[in-house]
Symmetry: C2
Subunit: 411 residues, 2 copies
């Protein structure tokens, strides 16, 4: 039995939001509100910036009914940030300020809910508190649609985004084959460095073949092969659906979306309209056929109406596990998932050292991508399919989502 | 009691698909399969082109279970076309061919499921059959996400697209306010000439204010006013969400998406990436702030996973009513809706002369748009809200939609 540590808890959300990040926050908040030794539960407004600027919401003031709605409310209810903490050996200013705020509110528990950069922040704060001898337990709660956090089977947020992508690809595929005149449809998914989201398009093929070609940033992009692939599929079936990651890049590292070589795309305007529109334009120019570019944009990370129940439940579980671990005396860890898929899907929490997690990126294994670099193997399907199971418990009013509306009472 | 007419029925789908067009087709098919005097039920492959090319599916061969899934399967299951019929006074070729096919299969019932152009086709065929004295009952079944068909309260397909747009605007709005750094988000909705779809963004404000500005093609677009509107909202709240119709145009009729006046947008590249990206680029250039363009693209018309139950049920009802009317001796009409919203929402079928419907466009009334031309009045909300009620009965397998897969047996 760990020594009882009495004090307040701060939960902060950081980085790009997801459809289920609030379920994790609620896992933390609910468990903390129910714990005797946690005296007060604060939510940091705009992540660590809320701590630095002394802007803390008092979660104890919120109604239970509204907090419950966090289970299906997308995006970061507390606000987020992309604030990069300096190395404390070079500049201690921020850390001193955080310590000051922790002391002011008697904070003894700190949870940070985010992706790679956020775990770096969490790790630095944890190490600093240890160094200065301030008794405080620190835990990271994972979150990212990109699914690129190291040391965990997968990340909360990914399953819901994957479910939305696969569903949308199925629906768009149905839409694009209605005419007897063909069309090449290019669907752009998020993921600057890791192809997990784009790979999710392959799940659409499970019920009916609809996604013909898939390009991830884990392989160098070659425009000639890309065009040849499309031409081959289009000739064979009269249509072609392509999923492509925003992060595909040429062998020299240049992002295809940003390449300015006008010889390649004929436009020379980077970033206007995104990769899908650009590739659709190139295919149209080369092949003289109808094309359409669709960018799933923010929709893929905020579509709570199409969230996976498995993802929601696991997101909550991660938050809950973080607080339970802290109550048991654990600190300086991130909650991760250990999963088995051999006899049905089983997902258990585990704890990983924060210093192990921070700043590593977990990419799609090369052996899960086919040799031609334009499709995904069944290993990926076995991996991802359990993550998209079940439907959101979202309550609707007037036919629309009834999202949480917090009172937001500042301390 | 009408004279019993024994013979086969053809159902064709035409124009752009919707999330519920198959529910209408199923209303026709189910009712026809159950009618004693309808000897066979055919589905035209690719709309009227399937009739012209003698490509008819035998719907009697399909399993009940698969047909039932049409209730939540998006897009045109029979295939569609955008084939413009010539004036029969100038060229009778197509009409003679259609008559030949009708005689070959003893077709006495013809249903055409589509929008404005499709009702024109339906009307021309109806008049031709009457002229040549071929005993055949012809009915139009409305469909269009654009909601611009004349003579009906609204069109099947619109409610589901409106629900998806309002839901997505709510979710995107949640996503874009997470940081303390502001952003202007421009969401592009379909609707070349009518603003019904874009107006649906206003429904998002019913649960929580999130859509700040709305621009429809029913009003001339003025770039200076647009930029001033955004600047005002952004200064006041630090964020701004804008819904804009793909069809907005300047006073001279030029579509904003196609205007090549480089002085205006600084790019001079029409159609690359669409209107949202273009407007986002202009706002960014003028105001020097972060912007994002989101094009809802095909997603808004095929997102069956977010369809309105009211819309699905009405779509089915329209198809059913068309066949029932024909069985009662009616011909040369389109099914429309007569709705009352005074004491709860009531929707009843009515019949409209095909010649009245064909080629007219029903736009958003000017008095439902505010004076500044950047918002919608409560009249629209009262009109549209009943249409997005209820959730799809979609069955999922493996966490993904279990869409109908027809056997497609040709006659």
């Amino acid at each position: 039995m760990a020594e009882t540590l009495k004090g307040a808890l701060i939960i902060g959300q950081s980085g790009g939001p997801t459809a289920v990040i609030n379920a994790s926050a609620y896992g933390v908040i609910r468990t903390a509100l129910d714990a005797d030794c946690i005296t007060k539960v604060y939510g940091a407004h705009y992540g660590i910036k809320g701590v630095l600027e002394d802007r803390l919401y008092v979660m104890d003031e919120e109604d239970r009914e509204d907090l419950d709605k966090l289970m299906y409310t997308p995006s970061s209810a507390l606000g987020s940030c992309r604030y990069k903490m300096k190395d404390p050996n070079e500049d201690e200013t921020d850390y001193k300020r955080i310590l000051e705020i922790f002391k002011k509110y008697d904070v003894r528990y700190f949870c940070y809910n985010g992706g790679n950069d956020s775990m770096d922040t969490c790790n630095k704060i944890s190490k600093y508190m240890k160094k200065v001898g301030y008794d405080c337990r620190v835990m990271g709660v994972p979150k990212t649609i990109d699914n690129d956090l190291y040391g965990t089977d997968h990340c909360p947020g990914y399953g819901s985004a994957a479910k939305y992508i696969a569903t949308s690809v199925m629906e768009v595929a149905r839409d694009t084959v209605v005419y007897d005149t063909g069309v090449v449809t290019i669907i752009e998914c998020m993921g600057r460095h890791a192809g997990w989201l784009t790979a999710a398009a392959a799940l659409a093929n499970l019920r009916e073949h609809c996604c013909d070609l898939i390009y991830l940033p884990e392989r160098d992009f070659d425009m000639d092969s890309f065009l040849a692939d499309i031409e081959r599929v289009y000739k064979a079936k009269g249509n072609c659906i392509v999923a492509v990651s925003e992060g595909v890049h040429y062998a020299d590292g240049t992002f295809v979306s940003e390449a300015k070589t006008s010889g390649t795309d004929g436009f020379g305007h980077a970033q206007l309209g995104g990769l899908a529109a650009r590739l659709a334009g190139i295919v149209k120019a080369k092949m003289g056929i109808k094309t359409r570019g669709i960018e799933l944009s923010l929709l893929q990370r905020c579509a709570a109406h199409c969230a996976s129940k498995t993802d929601i439940d696991e997101a909550y579980m991660a938050g809950k596990a973080a607080v339970e671990a802290m109550l048991n005396g654990v600190t300086d860890k991130m909650v991760g998932f250990d999963c088995s898929r051999d006899n049905g899907y089983v997902c258990r929490e585990k704890l990983i050292d924060l210093s192990e997690v921070a700043n590593y990126e977990n990419k799609v294994p090369q052996e899960w991508i086919n040799e031609a670099g334009n499709d995904i193997t069944s290993d990926f399907i076995n991996y991802a399919l359990p993550l998209i199971q079940g439907e959101t418990p979202m309550v609707k009013k007037d036919g629309l989502p009834d999202f949480a509306r917090l009172k937001r009472v500042f301390a």
